[in-house]
């Protein structure tokens, strides 16, 4: 785009900074509660400055066994991401690079599976899992998460893989490689950056997921969102504890956003923008 004069650019930058502050301030406010002495919570007007303490962090990790929860979250989010990558990558390659009949219908089917409200799927899931004894199991959650992650992953990776140079496959075949070899030696290495970017996005979605974890999980598979919601319901709200759990949830997402924000914008728009 046409860039214009410096003073205007400075003005715009200041405006953008103001807006970023407006959007990020609540996050800061939430974090601050995890370090705030509890007696200051209810002061009027709200207190801005205080000596940070880590009591609540220690308490939360101890009484809630937050490490176990974190590990549950990692197992479920990581497992579902891994499953998605394992199963979704070949499909994306095929849809993007090979001749497949009914491609449009397959893509429509894939995106349709992302449209279903989680809660609508949970009803049959709950009964099926009860029957298969998969309620409150990591593997059950991992499979359930693929309802939304699979569609996102395959769709996005297909869009991105399509952008690799045309004719690669033909040339590699002429060089004496079986199409499956071409997939392993040419396709996969070239898809790697996209696999990482889309995989990270799938991980974030799984990490943030709430309804499936709440309704299909249980004591042994509690993920962070579920524990957060639980601290909220039982008699009176544990504000500091909520702030600690929320902060724990925010950290990995913050790191990923910092490194991959362009790919994430692209991912959230299902590839419609180049980010």
């Amino acid at each position: 785009m046409i860039e214009d004069a410096r003073p205007r650019k400075i003005l715009r930058t200041l405006g953008l900074i103001a807006i970023v502050i407006a959007f990020v301030f609540p996050v800061y406010w939430l974090l601050s509660f995890s370090f705030k002495p509890e007696r200051l919570f209810f002061d009027l007007p709200p207190v801005w400055t205080f000596d940070p303490i880590v009591t609540e962090w220690v308490n939360t990790f101890r009484t809630l066994k937050l490490w176990e929860t974190i590990i549950n979250s990692i197992i479920v989010a990581g497992g579902s991401t891994l499953l998605t990558i394992l199963v979704g990558t070949p499909a994306s390659y095929s849809l993007a690079r090979l001749r497949v009949r009914g491609k449009t219908d397959i893509m429509l089917f894939i995106i349709a599976s992302r449209m279903a409200p989680a809660v609508a799927l949970i009803i049959p899931f709950f009964l099926i899992y009860q029957f298969l004894d998969l309620l409150d199991s990591h593997i059950g959650l991992i499979f359930a998460y693929s309802t939304f992650n699979m569609a996102l992953y395959v769709w996005l990776l297909t869009v991105m893989t399509r952008e690799l140079p045309a004719d690669l496959e033909g040339v590699a075949e002429a060089d004496g490689y079986h199409p499956f070899q071409v997939f392993l030696r040419i396709g996969l290495p070239l898809m790697r950056p996209s696999i990482i970017a889309v995989g990270v996005l799938a991980f974030i979605f799984a990490w943030n997921e709430f309804p499936f974890a709440l309704l299909l999980g249980g004591r042994t598979t509690e993920t962070l969102p579920v524990v957060a919601a639980r601290s909220l319901s039982a008699g009176g709200v544990e504000w500091a504890r909520l702030a600690v759990i929320s902060t724990v949830m925010v950290i990995p997402v913050a790191v990923m956003v910092f490194f991959l924000h362009k790919q994430i914008v692209r991912g959230l728009s299902m590839g419609a923008v180049r980010g």
Binding site: G88, V100, F109, F125, F143, L184, P225, V257, A272
Partner: protein, 306 residues
């Protein structure tokens, strides 16, 4: 490289190689499709089955025909939930799209430090909806939340807290959705604007078009495909809004913030009306599928998603 060794070991041989070449495209897709059938089609089919049966807690009893659907249609709470969801969607999405487009237009001519500012701006959009809701709950809590104290009470907007009466409660749910998604949408529009071709704008400048004319006749029409995609994606997600309702209002006060997802949740896990809930799920899903495929087919070519 290790991968080379693995690749060589996996080299197909003999007749198997010919077979593999022939069906490779489908063999590669098959696992994904099977998984999607397992976690999507089968549960959906089972939901249809459940919706046609009488249920008692989690036991499936006799065949009920369309009784569940009849019950559902005569249940004012179902219609109420549809109404609430529609209001949230219809209000929140246009507002966030317009706000985001406005912001993007404000900044797309370039800012300093975009590399630091844009990840920061994106941040709220990738926060877990749960965290987002908790954040707002703290800011709007009692009379001591920072927003309750400085905004709600100071200007006497609402008495008894924003979650005490229906309209402010819905308004808050909508505001949170807007707050969460404006940042991402702004960045998406920003990227979309950067990608527009320059030539038409130069021509317009030569023709002496006003800024408003350029915006109305050039910029926005060229952004239509992107607007359509973003609308579609936001529509899908907002329509199933659940997390923030669960954390903030529990559907209340009354049923004033009970969205479709929350209605389904309560039908199952509070009232254990599984058959009726399944009927609602089927209706919602069909509604969704029809709407999305229409939008998808209409925009298919222009969206360039396929």
């Amino acid at each position: 490289m290790a991968t080379q060794g693995i690749a060589a070991a996996l080299a197909p041989r003999g007749r198997w190689a010919e077979f593999l070449q022939r069906y490779l495209p489908y063999l590669l897709i098959a696992p994904a499709l099977i998984l999607l059938i397992l976690v999507g089609v089968i549960p959906f089919a089972y939901a249809i089955y459940l919706s046609l049966h009488n249920t008692f807690f989690t036991d499936v009893e006799s065949f009920a025909g369309i009784a569940n659907y009849k019950d559902l249609v005569s249940d004012p709470r179902f219609w109420g939930a549809l109404r609430v969801t529609t209001i949230v969607t219809v209000v929140a999405i246009p507002i966030q799209l317009v706000m985001a487009l406005g912001l993007a237009l404000l900044f797309y001519r370039g800012v300093f430090g975009g590399r630091v500012l844009s990840p920061l701006l994106l941040f709220p959009s990738v926060l877990a909806p749960i965290v987002m809701a908790i954040m707002w709950k703290i800011m709007l809590a009692g009379n001591w939340g920072i927003l309750s104290y400085w905004v709600v009470e100071r200007f006497s907007l609402v008495t008894g807290g924003v979650f005490g009466s229906p309209s402010p409660a819905i308004g808050t749910v909508i505001a949170i959705d807007i707050f969460q998604w404006v940042p991402f949408l702004t960045l998406a529009f920003y990227a979309g604007l950067q990608a527009l071709p320059l030539a038409p704008f130069r021509a317009a400048a030569v023709d002496g078009a006003s800024r408003w004319q350029v915006l109305r006749l050039l910029t926005i029409p060229m952004l239509y495909p992107l607007i359509a995609v973003l609308f579609l994606l936001r529509f899908i997600d907002t329509f199933k809004i659940f997390d923030s309702v669960f954390i903030l209002t529990r559907g209340g006060p009354g049923d004033s913030t009970t969205t479709i997802s929350y209605y389904l949740f309560r039908s199952v896990f509070e009232f254990w009306e599984i058959g009726r809930a399944a009927a609602a799920a089927v209706i919602v899903f069909v509604l969704f599928f029809v709407m999305t495929s229409i939008v998808y087919r209409v925009f298919h070519k222009r969206l360039r998603l396929i």
